[in-house]
């Protein structure tokens, strides 16, 4: 079924301009507003509480008074927040670059080259997506222990150098949409497969790599389990581990003002990236599910 007739029908059935506000539509908006409130209010509460003085942090007022910008300064002064941000940034940048590049390299032959065992190997890659991480968690920890990786950031990003199954799958699907003519013309001109990949294919696959980068950014910035396994020196903590460690720190257990400011700060980069790249996020999520 082509998309043409659907699009034309949509045009003819959709009324021009603003749809009339019938009781049914009013009900739709009412339901949406109630649901949206449930989703937004906790979020707004976090921002509001992060700007309240400690003794009013539980007060029902939505607008803080006075506005305590100093909470945000205190987070940096009373914890090692800046160091945790730095550690998280190092891990996230290295992990994101590593996984985008390695997955793009590994995905390429599955879309554009012929080689023995191609189908079987691709099946194996897909199968690893079904393997729950905890089955390999203990031996991988033992390997890093042997290599002296405990209390270093290496275990958090080095595995990304070897590609990641879901991203390999996403990128392969994207390579398949690129026509072969360019590749074949370059090969006829004497270019090697590596040159074709690097100079022609890699630049073309950048939109899909952006989706990979966004997903991996969120995954690494949020990850709590892996740093918890490998890091026990507070100077090495990532942001997720550091913020969670507030809860146990003597003198900080009831500093809700600081926690809320820290939570807002931790969320901020993700919100900024979401607004900058909303389309890639939305399309990436939908594509991952519908194509899989």
């Amino acid at each position: 079924m082509s998309t043409q007739p659907i699009a034309r029908r949509l045009e003819t059935t959709a009324p021009k301009g603003r749809p009339r506000l019938t009781p049914a539509r009013a009900l739709v908006y009412l339901c949406l507003a109630v649901l949206a409130a449930a989703f937004l209010v906790p979020f707004l509460w976090m921002i509001s509480a992060s700007l309240k003085p400690l003794n009013e942090v539980f007060s029902p007022a939505i607008v803080p008074h006075p506005v305590m910008w100093s909470n945000y300064v205190n987070v940096f002064q009373q914890t090692q927040f800046a160091l945790w941000v730095f550690n998280s940034a190092v891990v996230t940048v290295l992990a994101v670059v590593a996984v985008a590049l390695s997955s793009a390299i590994v995905a390429y032959p599955f879309a554009k080259l012929n080689f023995p065992l191609k189908g079987a190997l691709f099946g194996l890659i897909l199968a690893t997506m079904l393997l729950p991480g905890e089955v390999t968690m203990v031996p991988v920890f033992l390997i890093w222990r042997k290599l002296g990786g405990i209390n270093t950031l290496f275990p958090l990003w080095v595995p990304n150098l070897f590609g990641s199954a879901f991203y390999i799958f996403l990128l392969r699907q994207f390579y398949l949409t690129i026509p072969n003519d360019l590749k074949e013309a370059a090969l006829v001109d004497g270019a090697s497969h590596f040159r074709v990949f690097w100079s022609i294919m890699l630049p073309l696959v950048r939109p899909a790599m952006l989706t990979v980068i966004l997903f991996e950014f969120v995954a690494k910035w949020n990850d709590y389990l892996t740093p918890l396994i490998y890091l026990n020196d507070p100077n090495k903590y990532t942001l997720a581990l550091g913020v969670a460690s507030f809860l146990k720190a003597p003198g900080l257990e009831s500093r809700w003002d600081l926690w809320m400011a820290a939570s807002v700060l931790m969320t901020l980069p993700e919100i900024i990236i979401f607004f900058l790249a909303q389309r890639q996020f939305i399309e990436g999520i939908a594509a991952g599910a519908v194509k899989a």
Binding site: F110, P159, I229
Partner: protein, 296 residues
């Protein structure tokens, strides 16, 4: 074409190395360790099936943790699927400012799990939290969300739903947009109302997407770790281990007690449980998932 095959193997070599070192090798090692007693300091000693025997016959915490994770999954999956579907269907009615609405529902999904747990610990504080203040004002009961053992798992399901609906809603919205308008028009010609159209067109056409999100959702939910651990601020899951999930128990065995053999056995038990649940779903899926050639 031998050059092409050679080049291809060079391209995939990073994955092959990574697979051997971080997946395939550890998978075999983990199976071996599950038959040993290993505390990291002494070499592993073979104990046969005794880890598995202990798990199934003597370990009350294993049963508690598994029951907690299953209870959580049973609450979370319907809550999150129904909420996401409701929002997606509402947003699919040609509402105005759709990208704003979508953003509202998506914001919790871009909030890191740790920040979400800290935030919910704050608003659900039994004495002073915003939610109980509000419920108290309306004269409603004010549960001990983060302290009462009966509530911990429900609180967890509620919180994770809040954070997870955004992604699922976007998947459903994409699925809904893929349903041909002709089907609704044909149904309308036959005199179908909203309910009939939803039941006989929307849900069958959306069933592959629903199936996908439920399968993936259950696999993730049964392994929940970060949210309960931070929300209740206790590696052992609060009073009476009421919120000790399977992954938390496994983690404690491996990295607090350094019982690597026992933890590996726990991991394999969970892996088998996940495989069985998934297989049963694929079997059951044949009866309720509708694949239409094109719309898939």
């Amino acid at each position: 074409m031998r050059g092409e095959a050679l080049a291809a193997f060079v391209f995939i070599s990073p994955w092959v190395i990574g697979f051997l070192v971080f997946t395939g090798g550890p998978l075999v090692a983990s199976l071996y360790l599950s038959f040993t007693d290993y505390n990291v300091l002494q070499p592993p000693s073979w104990v046969g099936l005794s880890n598995y025997g202990q798990i199934f016959t003597q370990d009350d915490l294993f049963r508690k943790a598994l029951a907690n994770s299953v209870y959580y999954t049973a609450l979370f999956i319907p809550m999150h699927v129904v909420t996401a579907l409701a929002i997606a269907m509402l947003l699919n009615t040609r509402v105005r400012y759709i990208s704003w609405w979508r953003t509202f529902f998506y914001l919790p999904a871009v909030t890191p799990a740790v920040a979400t747990a800290v935030l919910w610990r704050f608003i659900l504080n039994p004495q002073q939290g915003m939610v109980n203040q509000f419920l108290g004002m309306l004269g409603l009961p004010t549960p001990g969300w983060t302290t009462d053992p009966h509530w911990l798992i429900r609180t967890l399901a509620l919180m994770v739903t809040w954070g997870a609906v955004g992604n699922t809603m976007i998947i459903y919205l994409a699925g809904l947009k893929g349903i041909p308008v002709e089907l609704y028009e044909a149904a309308e010609v036959d005199g179908a109302g909203w309910w009939t159209k939803t039941w006989n067109v929307t849900l069958p056409m959306l069933s592959p997407v629903l199936f996908f999100t439920i399968v993936v959702g259950i696999i993730g939910a049964i392994q929940v770790f970060t949210q309960p651990r931070v929300l209740f601020n206790d590696p052992n899951g609060g009073a009476g281990n009421a919120a000790l999930t399977y992954m938390m128990y496994l983690f404690n065995n491996a990295f607090s007690y350094f019982k690597m053999g026992y933890a590996s056995a726990l991991a394999w038990v969970l892996f088998i449980i996940i495989l069985i649940i998934t297989a049963v779903q694929f079997w059951a899926g044949r009866h309720w998932v509708y694949y239409e050639g094109e719309a898939r």
